[in-house]
């Protein structure tokens, strides 16, 4: 039975992830006062890349990069339950808690970094270096906020944290939420922290040497991973969800909030983004932590 459950989770994440990506492109287009592509454009793009021939070869580690990234995304998804109560769509969350998920969040990018490194494409390596530099600063406010939430609710189990909120954590501890949100914008690859795949600077960064099926794999994992991260954020700060409608509504509101930031702001340089993340959100999160433990 659990196999069917996992398969359905994957299917939902794939479909909703691509739907959100399509909406992202369409909404960004409306921000720029143009018509924009249809909602299923990202899905069409990824399927098209599955139909393309592979022409590059840089050894087996290069091919393993996207595969590790895909497995990282899928594992993260499986350890995050979709709903705050009940057994359906809970995946493997009974076997692992928030600590494991925090580890899994960086597994994919690190695996991909190895693959990109073997290709020797300078833009890919530059993208990876930027990503890892940013990661140090991005994790700090996020971890402070998440650990504070964990100790405040007295559990590391994601479903327990989600169901134990009488008022949403985002409103009960607004400073923690704001601190984590800054990191979350970076995790979603949105401006002003979109230094990794920065167009016109490092072209598409880590993805620049991948083509055909491996690029399609990268696009698919990004859709799945996006949904997994949104669900995690909803569980931690927005009270979780008891049904699909609530889940989709909450993740969509969070998603719109994040991509609005992306459409409105320009891009930081890598040192600037590290500087900003270490100063502003970290301070906000630490103050939030002190206030939360004080009362």
């Amino acid at each position: 039975m659990i196999v069917i459950d996992l398969f359905l989770m994957l299917l939902v994440a794939y479909a909703v992830g691509f739907l959100y990506y399509g909406l992202y492109r369409n909404i960004t287009a409306r921000f720029q006062r143009r018509f924009g592509p249809p909602v299923w454009q990202s899905f069409i793009d990824s399927v098209k890349f599955f139909f393309k021939e592979e022409s590059t070869s840089h050894g087996w580690m290069f091919y393993l990069g996207p595969i590790i990234m895909m497995s990282g995304a899928i594992m993260t998804l499986f350890f995050i339950p979709f709903f705050s109560s009940g057994d359906s769509f809970s995946g493997l969350s009974a076997y692992g808690n928030l600590f494991l998920v925090l580890y899994l969040l960086v597994l994919g990018p690190l695996g991909n970094a190895l693959g990109v490194g073997t290709a020797g494409n300078p833009f890919g390596v530059m993208g990876v270096t930027r990503g890892l530099t940013r990661l140090f600063a991005m994790e700090l406010p996020f971890y402070i906020a998440v650990i504070a939430i964990m100790s405040l609710s007295g559990s590391a189990d994601i479903a327990t944290i989600a169901s134990g909120q009488t008022t949403f954590n985002a409103f009960a501890y607004p400073l923690l939420f704001i601190g984590a949100l800054f990191s979350f914008i970076g995790m979603m690859g949105q401006a002003p922290f979109d230094v990794v795949g920065a167009p016109v600077e490092v072209y598409s960064g880590p993805a620049s040497e991948f083509s055909g099926k491996f690029l399609a794999l990268l696009m698919s994992q990004s859709a799945i991973f996006t949904f997994a991260k949104l669900v995690l954020m909803v569980h931690l700060f927005l009270g979780g969800a008891s049904g699909f409608l609530e889940l989709l509504l909450k993740t969509f509101v969070l998603f719109i909030l994040v991509i609005s930031f992306g459409s409105l702001y320009g891009r930081f340089k890598t040192p600037q983004s590290v500087d900003f993340l270490l100063k502003v959100p970290t301070t906000i999160a630490v103050v939030g932590l002190i206030l939360a433990t004080w009362s």
Binding site: Q41, K48, S204
Partner: protein, 206 residues
């Protein structure tokens, strides 16, 4: 109500795309449908026509509504645009870029210069017929073609892809000797550009 004209235009453009019926099997049909609906363009500015591409891809003409968008690297691109006259030096780079792209790939040629040399017909350092050196899928004529014409060229290309007729990459593989001979005739034995530190000794300088 004010958008009616625009939606009508979008409908006309897409109506042209959906009219093809000549496909071999349903798998072929599906593959070609996905290919024509998602086109990643390597916007490689090789000539003066490159100036017409930014308006085509940005808010004014918005090619993304037809599934056409820019690609960052040759590895990810489906279409390369040769945007105008082609000097020998540029031709080296175009050939290298074209060969880096993965199949299926298409080549769109902009402007009169790619057809017959155009105003550079008697120039000593430009090629006259692009067709002799690389296979061309679609020509967009004009000097220079406006973004509207480029969009129409793209739609014609999409239609050919949908029907499975755009197969220049196969033509290039089958007739490689012919193309290589022509390339060597103007570029010499070593067609690919060299990126060594001593480029100025072997590559004829900048």
């Amino acid at each position: 109500m004010e958008h009616n004209g625009f939606l009508q235009e979008q409908k006309t453009l897409e109506g042209d795309l959906n009219s093809d019926t000549s496909h071999k099997s349903s798998v072929d049909f599906l593959m070609n449908w996905f290919r024509k609906r998602s086109i990643f363009v390597l916007a490689y500015g090789t000539g003066c026509g490159a100036i017409e591409m930014p308006p085509t891809f940005t808010s004014r003409y918005d090619a993304e509504r037809l599934g056409i968008r820019g690609a960052a690297t040759p590895r990810q691109a489906d279409v390369i645009i040769v945007s105008g006259y082609c000097s020998y030096k540029t031709l080296r780079r175009i050939i290298r870029t074209y060969e880096q792209m993965s199949n299926p790939k298409y080549l769109l040629a902009l402007g009169s210069c790619t057809v017959n040399g155009g105003m550079y017909w008697d120039s000593y350092n430009t090629i006259k017929k692009l067709e002799d050196y690389l296979p061309v899928d679609m020509y967009v004529n004009g000097c220079m073609p406006r973004p509207e014409s480029i969009l129409e060229g793209f739609i014609a290309l999409q239609k050919e892809i949908g029907e499975g007729k755009a197969s220049s990459w196969q033509k290039y593989e089958e007739n490689y000797e012919f193309y290589r001979k022509n390339q060597e005739a103007v570029l010499g034995e070593k067609v690919e550009p060299s990126y060594d530190a001593d480029w100025y000794l072997y590559d004829g300088g900048l």
